[in-house]
C-alpha cells in the first residue's frame, strides 16, 4: 500500500497506523521515544523526591501547606477524560469516520486546555503563597517536574490543533492516519505521567 | 621487522617500569604506605595487581601463539568453527572466581574504612578533627581541644584519628596519599572517616606528609596543598597545651615586628585570626588562622617558608595562587610594611 493511495470505507485497512513501511517506522519510533521519555520523567521524579520540602527557612510553605485535593481532583478528571476522548477519536479513525474523529479530537483539545488553564491558575496561586521557582530547591524541583508535564500538554495541544487544521480539507489517508495515532499515544503517555504526578507529588505531598 | 619493533616495545616498557618504580617520594607516594588505612589499601592494590597481571599473561600467551602460528601463508579457506561450549564455560567461570577473590576483601575493607562509630561516642578519647576546605586553603578544628589551626594538620601517631569533612564553598577532596585514600569535602553534608599515622614511617618521612586537594575546585586547584605533622602522642599533647595557652595574640618581640603587628591589626585581622581558640563559628573563619604561622613549613601551602616568600605572597598572591580569595581584600603594602609584616608573622609561634 502506498501512502498516497486514495482509500474508501471499504478499502481502509484494519491497522491504518501500521500499513506502510513509513507508518510502521513512525509507530515504532514513537514508542521508543516514549521509552526515553519514561527515563526523562523518572529523572525528574527522582530529583523532586530528593528535594521535596527542602526550603531555606521555616517561613516558606511545604508540600502539605500547599496542595489541595479539590483542584488536583478536577485537573485529574479533565486529563483522564481527555484520554478517553482521544481513544474515541482513534476508534473513529479506524472506522474511517473522519468527521467524528475530528469532533473527538476537538473535545480532547478542549479538555487539555481546561487542564492547562487550571495549572496556570494553580501555579499563580502558589506563587502568591510564597512558593516560587526561585525561592527554594523545593520550588525549583516542583515547578520543573510539574511544569515539564505542563509543557508536554501544551506541546500536545499545539500538535493536535495543527494536525486538525492541516488535515481538515484532506480527510483521512494512509499518510496522515499514523500521525493521528501517534498523537494519541503521546496524549495517553501524558496521562500516564500525570497519574504519577498526582499520586507522588500531590497525594503523597498531602500525606506528608 | 614488525616483529622486532614489537619486542623492542615491550622491553622498553619493562626497563621504564623498573627504573621508575623507584621514583615517587616516600612522604607522598601511595606505594610507601605509612599507616593502617594506606596499608589496607596497599594490600588491596597488590592483590588486584597480581590478579590483573595473571589475566594479562594468559591473554598474551594466546595472543603470541596466534601471532606466530596463524598468519596467512596461502590462499586456503580455514574451517569455519562456530564456537566451543567447553572453552566458553572456562572463560566465564574463571574470571568470576578471580573477581570473587577480589570482591570479598574489597567489601570487607570498604566497611572497615567507613567504621566511625567511636567518633560519635561522646565518651571516647579519640582525636577528632573537623576539616573545613576553602578555596585553596584548609581549616583544621579540634573540637574537643577547642583549638583551630590552618594549612598544617597536626596529629598524634599510632592511633586512629577521626575526621569530619565539609566544604565551605565548592567541593574539594581531602587526601594524604601516603597515609590513606581520599574523601570528598562536600558542600551539602559532613563526611566522616579515619586515618592512622604510623610512628616509625612518620619518622622516616621526617614527620611531614604531603596532603593534597583531589577534586577540581578552580584555577589554583593544583596548589591547594597542605602539610601533615605527625608526632608522638606526648608531643601532640604538648602542642595542644601550647595552643590552648595562647589566649591573646602573641606579643611582637622586636620593634619591627611591633610595627608589623600594627599593620596586621589594621588590615588583616578582619579575616585572619591569630588566636587558636575556636571562638568563631566555622562559617566566620574566612581565612587561614595564623596563630602558629612561624612554626609552619610552607607559606600558603606551597612556597618555601621564609620572609622573602611571605613578602612575595602578600605583595601579590594572585601570581602564586590564581583565583584565591585574598587578592584585593587589603591595601597595597610598601616594601617597609612588607618587611614589618613578615617579621611579625614569622615570629608567631606557640611552642617555646
Amino acid at each position: 500500500m502506498h501512502a498516497e493511495e486514495k482509500l474508501t470505507y471499504e478499502t481502509w485497512p484494519a491497522e491504518p497506523e501500521k500499513s506502510t513501511l513509513e507508518a510502521k517506522n513512525k509507530f515504532l519510533g514513537f514508542w521508543l521515544f516514549l521509552g526515553g521519555e519514561t527515563v526523562l520523567f523518572a529523572s525528574l521524579f527522582a530529583t523532586y523526591l530528593s528535594l521535596k520540602d527542602k526550603v531555606p527557612n521555616t517561613s516558606q510553605p511545604l508540600a502539605k501547606d500547599l496542595f489541595e485535593l479539590p483542584l488536583t481532583f478536577v485537573a485529574t478528571m479533565l486529563l483522564l477524560t481527555s484520554s478517553l476522548t482521544s481513544v474515541y477519536a482513534i476508534y473513529h479513525m479506524k472506522n474511517f469516520a473522519f468527521k467524528k474523529m475530528m469532533v473527538w479530537l476537538g473535545l480532547t483539545a478542549l479538555l487539555g486546555f481546561g487542564f492547562l488553564g487550571l495549572e496556570v491558575y494553580e501555579f499563580n496561586h502558589y506563587v502568591h503563597l510564597g512558593h516560587k521557582f526561585t525561592s527554594s530547591a523545593f520550588g525549583s524541583a516542583f515547578y520543573t517536574l510539574v511544569g515539564f508535564h505542563g509543557a508536554h500538554v501544551a506541546f500536545g495541544l499545539a500538535w493536535c490543533l495543527s494536525l486538525m487544521f492541516r488535515n481538515a480539507k484532506r480527510g483521512l489517508n494512509l499518510y496522515n492516519a499514523p500521525k493521528f495515532y501517534v498523537f494519541s499515544l503521546y496524549w495517553h503517555f501524558i496521562d500516564v505521567v500525570w497519574v504519577f504526578i498526582f499520586t507522588v507529588v500531590y497525594l503523597m505531598g498531602m500525606v506528608g | 621487522m614488525k616483529r622486532l619493533a614489537n619486542w623492542r616495545l615491550f622491553s622498553l616498557f619493562a626497563i621504564v617500569a623498573l627504573v621508575l618504580s623507584g621514583c615517587g617520594k616516600p612522604y607522598l607516594s601511595t606505594l610507601t604506605p605509612a599507616g593502617e588505612v594506606a596499608d589496607i589499601q596497599y594490600d588491596l592494590m597488590g592483590l588486584s595487581t597480581i590478579i590483573m597481571v595473571g589475566v594479562i599473561i594468559v591473554v598474551m600467551l594466546v595472543f603470541v601463539i596466534v601471532f606466530f602460528r596463524f598468519r596467512r601463508k596461502d590462499d586456503r579457506i580455514p574451517k569455519q568453527v562456530e564456537g566451543s561450549h567447553k572453552l566458553e564455560i572456562i572463560w566465564t567461570v574463571i574470571p568470576i572466581l578471580l573477581l570473587l577473590v577480589l570482591a570479598v576483601p574489597t567489601v570487607s575493607a570498604t566497611f572497615k574504612l567507613a567504621d566511625v562509630k567511636t567518633m560519635d561516642d561522646k565518651n571516647s578519647k579519640a582525636v577528632v578533627v573537623n576539616v573545613r576546605s576553602h578555596l585553596y586553603w584548609w581549616d583544621f578544628e579540634y573540637p574537643k581541644q577547642k583549638i583551630v589551626t590552618s594549612q598544617e594538620l597536626v596529629v598524634p601517631t599510632d592511633e586512629k584519628v577521626y575526621f569530619s569533612l565539609k566544604s565551605m564553598d565548592v567541593k574539594h577532596s581531602f587526601w594524604i596519599p601516603a597515609v590513606g585514600g581520599k574523601l570528598d569535602t562536600n558542600t551539602d553534608n559532613i563526611n566522616k572517616f579515619w586515618l592512622e599515622f604510623d610512628a616509625e614511617k612518620s619518622n622516616e618521612a621526617g614527620n611531614l606528609f604531603y596532603g593534597k586537594c583531589a577534586e577540581l575546585c578552580g584555577p589554583s586547584h593544583a596548589l591547594m596543598d597542605f602539610k601533615v605533622k605527625a608526632m608522638s602522642k606526648d608531643d601532640f599533647n604538648a602542642w595542644v597545651k601550647d595552643m590552648q595557652s595562647v589566649k591573646a595574640p602573641e606579643k611582637a618581640q622586636t620593634a619591627l615586628a611591633q610595627q608589623g603587628q600594627d599593620i596586621f591589626n589594621k588590615s588583616c585581622i578582619g579575616c585572619h585570626a591569630v588566636t587558636p581558640e575556636n571562638k568563631m563559628p566555622e562559617t566566620a573563619r574566612i581565612a587561614p588562622n595564623l596563630s602558629n604561622f612561624g612554626e609552619r613549613s610552607r607559606v600558603a601551602g606551597i612556597l618555601d617558608h621564609n620572609k622573602e616568600e611571605v613578602k612575595n605572597w602578600i605583595r601579590n598572591p594572585e601570581t602564586y595562587k590564581p583565583g584565591n580569595t585574598m587578592t584585593g581584600k587589603y591595601p597595597q603594602m610598601t616594601e617597609d610594611q612588607l618587611n614589618a609584616l613578615a617579621e611579625y608573622l614569622m615570629g608567631l609561634k606557640v611552642q617555646d
Binding site: G29, G36, V39, L44, A46, T47, L51, K54, F133, A137, S140, S162 | L9, V16, S21, G24, K25, T30, L31, Q41, L44, S48, T49, M52, V55, I56, V62, I65, V66, F70, R72, R76, I77, P78, V81, E82, G83, S84, W91, L102, A103, T106, V107, T110, K171, P177, G181, L183, N186, T187, D188, Y210, K212, A214, E215, G218, P219, H221, A222, G323
Partner: protein
C-alpha cells in the same frame, strides 16, 4: 529527479550536503565534522602535555588550563568519538542489514545538524569570553561557582548536540528492528549491527538523565533556580548522580561500536566466522544492561556510605566477565584462521593487549576501598585513555581504513596506514603507561602544574614526548587521506577480498538507493555464503521494481540553526542585554517554524522507476 551520476560544481555539492537525507552522505558529514573536532581535541591534548612537560611551566595560565582540559574531554567524548562512531553506523549499518536507507532519513539529517550546531556553539566559547572550566563532568558546586559564560556554553551546547544524538539513536533502533532484508533474522545480523543496536538502546536510556541534569543546571545558572544551591535547600550530589547515570553508559556507548568494528575485522582478515557468535551477542547485551547499574563507581569518594560503595563495587566488577568473553572469542576467531595483517588488522590486533590493560585497571578501580587512593589521580587518567584511545580511537582508526573504500570508492595507502599505526601506537603507550605510576605516586589529575621535587618530572616528560609521536601518526593519516583522494584509484565491490557481510556485495561507494533489489539472506555472513558457493552477487529477494526514496530537505539545517540562535539569547539574557530575549524568540521561532513547515507539508518522496534502474545497468556495462 535522478540526481545521481552527475558531475556538479562546488556550490551544488555543498547544497547537496546541506540538504541531504542520504545515510551515506550523512555518514560523510559525521566523519568530516567528527574528524575536525578530533583534531581540535587532539590539539588541546597536546597543549595539556606541553604544559605538563616540565614542573612550574607557564605555557598556559591556570585558568586557561582548566578550560583546555574541560574542552578536551568534552570535545573528545561528545564531538569527536560519538560522531565518528555515528559516521560508521550510518555508513555501514543500513548496508549490513540490506536496507535502502535508515527508517527516518529526515530525522537522520536533523540529528547530524543538531550535533554539529551544538558542537560549534560549544567551541565558540573560546572566542566569546572563555570556555567552560569545571571539567567535562562539570560538578555542580564548581560549575555554579564558575564565572562568565563558559559553563553556559557547556550546558546549552551539550543540550543541543545531545538532542541530535538521542534522535539518531532512535532512528538506528527502528531501522534495525523494521528494515532488515528478507532472511536477516536477529541472530544473523553482523556484530557491528548488533553493537549499533545495543548502543542505540543505551543512548535512548542514558541521554534523558543528562538532558535533565543539563536542564537543572541551566535553570540554576540562567533562571535563578536552586537545585544545586545548598543554602536554598539544594543538593549538588544530584548532579553527580544524573551525570554518571548518563556518564557510565556513555563509555559503553563508545566502546560497543568499537567492539563491533573489531569483530568485523577479526572475522574478515582471519577468513573465519566469528567464534562464539551467539555468546558475543549475549555479552554485548549484558554489558549494556550492567552498564546502567554501576554509575556510582565514579562516586566512591563522595561519601555514599559503605553499603552503596560495596554494592556498586561488586556490580562494576561483574562487567569484566562479559568483556572477557569477548576478548577470548576474538582470540579464538584468529586461532586456526588465516590472519592477514592489513592496516585494519594491525589496529585490531594491537587493540587486544591494550584494551585488556585498560580493562583490568578498570577492575582495580572498581575495588572501592582501593579506589580511595586511585580516584582523581593520573591512575584514572591512564585507565580511561587505555580503554578510550586503546579501544575506541584504535577502532575508529581501524574503521577509517577498513570502510574508506566503501565510503569513498578508493583505498587508503597501506604503507602510510602502517606508519600511522606504529607511531600512534608507540606514542600512545609512551604517553599513558607511565601515567599509572604518576597516579600511584600521588599526582592528582586536573592539575595545571606540579611543583618540582615530588618525583614527577621525568615521567611527565616521557608522557609528553609520547603525545608528539601520536601527533605524527595523525598527521601521516591526514597526508594519506589527501594523497589517496588526489590519486583516486577506483575499487570494486569487495576491495579487501575477504568481505563477509552485505556491504561488500554492492559497489563502492554504493548507489544512492543501495540495493537495486533487496538481497536474500541465507545465514550469518550472507555474502561469504554466496561467495563460497561460487557466486559473485547476492540472490535477490524481490523482482526488480520501483524504488521509493525520500526527498532532500533544508529544514533539518534550519531547525538546528534556530536552536543555535536561541541558545545565544538564553545565555546573554542573564547579562540584561536588551537583544537577548528577542534573539531567543527569533531562534525558537525558526526552529518551531521549521518543524511546523515540515508537518504541514506533505512529503511523499519520489520513485526511481524500474526502467531507470535498468538503464543504470546498461551504462555500467558500457563503462566496464
Amino acid at each position: 529527479m535522478s540526481t545521481y551520476a552527475q558531475k556538479k560544481g562546488f556550490g551544488a555539492t555543498l547544497w547537496d550536503f546541506l540538504t541531504t537525507v542520504d545515510h551515506k552522505k550523512i555518514a560523510i558529514l559525521y566523519l568530516i565534522a567528527g574528524g575536525f573536532f578530533f583534531l581540535i581535541g587532539g590539539i588541546e591534548a597536546v597543549f595539556i602535555r606541553i604544559q605538563l612537560a616540565v614542573p612550574n611551566n607557564d605555557f598556559v595560565s591556570a585558568g586557561a588550563f582548566n578550560e583546555i582540559i574541560t574542552m578536551h574531554g568534552t570535545t573528545m567524548i561528545f564531538l569527536a568519538a560519538m560522531p565518528l562512531v555515528f559516521a560508521f553506523m550510518n555508513a555501514v549499518m543500513p548496508l549490513q542489514i540490506g536496507a535502502r536507507d535508515v527508517a527516518f532519513p529526515y530525522v537522520n539529517a536533523l540529528g547530524f545538524w543538531l550535533f554539529f550546531f551544538g558542537g560549534i556553539f560549544l567551541n565558540l566559547s573560546w572566542f566569546l569570553g572563555g570556555a567552560p572550566d569545571a571539567g567535562w563532568t562539570s560538578y555542580a558546586s564548581l560549575a555554579i561557582h564558575s564565572k562568565g559564560h563558559g559553563v553556559d556554553f557547556y550546558v546549552l551546547g551539550l543540550q543541543i548536540s545531545g538532542l541530535g544524538t538521542l534522535i539518531g539513536g532512535i532512528n538506528f533502533l527502528v531501522t534495525i528492528i523494521n528494515m532488515r532484508a528478507p532472511g536477516m533474522t536477529y541472530m544473523r545480523m553482523p556484530l557491528f549491527t548488533w553493537t549499533t543496536f545495543v548502543t542505540s538502546a543505551l543512548i535512548l536510556f542514558a541521554f534523558p538523565p543528562l538532558t535533565v541534569g543539563l536542564v537543572l543546571m541551566m535553570f540554576d545558572r540562567l533562571f535563578g533556580a536552586n537545585f544545586f544551591e545548598v543554602a536554598q535547600g539544594g543538593n549538588t550530589v544530584i548532579w553527580e548522580h544524573l551525570f554518571w547515570i548518563f556518564g557510565h553508559p556513555e563509555v559503553y556507548i563508545l566502546i560497543l561500536p568499537a567492539f563491533g568494528i573489531f569483530s568485523e575485522i577479526f572475522a574478515m582478515f582471519s577468513r573465519k566466522r566469528l567464534f562464539g557468535y551467539s555468546s558475543m551477542v549475549f555479552a554485548t547485551v549484558l554489558i549494556g544492561f550492567l552498564g546502567f547499574m554501576v554509575w556510582a563507581h565514579h562516586m566512591f569518594t563522595t561519601g555514599l556510605g559503605p553499603v552503596a560503595n560495596a554494592i556498586f563495587a561488586v556490580a562494576t566488577m561483574a562487567i569484566g566477565v562479559p568483556t572477557g568473553i569477548k576478548i577470548f572469542n576474538w582470540l579464538f576467531t584468529m586461532w586456526g584462521g588465516s590472519v592477514k595483517f592489513t592496516t585494519p588488522m594491525h589496529y585490531a590486533f594491537a587493540f587486544i593487549p591494550t584494551f585488556v590493560m585498560g580493562g583490568v585497571t578498570g577492575i582495580m578501580l572498581a575495588s572501592a576501598a582501593a579506589d580511595y587512593q586511585y580516584h582523581d589521580t593520573y591512575f584514572v587518567v591512564a585507565h580511561f585513555h587505555y580503554v578510550i584511545v586503546g579501544g575506541v580511537v584504535l577502532a575508529l582508526l581501524a574503521g577509517t581504513h577498513l570502510y574508506w573504500p566503501k565510503m569513498f570508492g578508493t583505498m587508503l595507502n597501506e604503507t602510510m596506514g602502517k606508519i600511522t599505526f606504529w607511531t600512534f601506537f608507540i606514542g600512545f603507550h609512551m604517553t599513558f603507561f607511565i601515567q599509572h605510576f604518576l597516579g600511584l605516586w600521588g599526582m592528582p589529575r586536573r592539575v595545571f602544574t606540579y611543583l618540582p621535587g615530588q618525583g614527577f618530572e621525568t615521567s611527565n616528560m616521557i608522557s609528553s614526548i609520547g603525545a608528539a609521536f601520536m601527533s605524527v601518526g595523525v598527521i601521516v593519516l591526514l597526508i594519506n587521506i589527501i594523497v589517496t583522494s588526489v590519486k583516486n584509484v577506483r575499487v570494486g565491490n569487495d576491495p579487501w577480498g575477504d568481505g563477509r557481510t552485505l556491504e561488500w556485495s554492492i559497489p563502492s561507494p554504493p548507489p544512492f538507493y543501495n540495493f537495486k533489489q533487496l538481497p536474500l539472506v541465507r545465514g550469518l555472513d550472507a555474502y561469504w555464503i554466496e561467495k563460497m558457493e561460487g557466486k559473485k552477487e547476492m540472490t535477490p529477494a524481490e523482482p526488480l521494481g520501483d524504488i521509493h526514496m525520500p526527498n532532500s530537505s533544508f529544514l533539518p539545517f534550519t531547525t538546528s540553526l534556530g536552536l543555535f540562535i536561541a541558545a545565544f539569547g538564553a545565555m546573554y539574557h542573564v547579562d540584561d542585554k536588551g537583544w537577548a530575549l528577542p534573539v531567543l524568540f527569533i531562534g525558537l521561532l525558526v526552529t518551531f517554524g521549521s518543524m511546523l513547515l515540515r508537518s504541514v507539508k506533505d512529503d511523499h518522496g519520489f520513485h526511481i522507476h524500474k526502467e531507470e534502474l535498468m538503464n543504470e545497468d546498461d551504462n555500467k556495462g558500457v563503462k566496464a
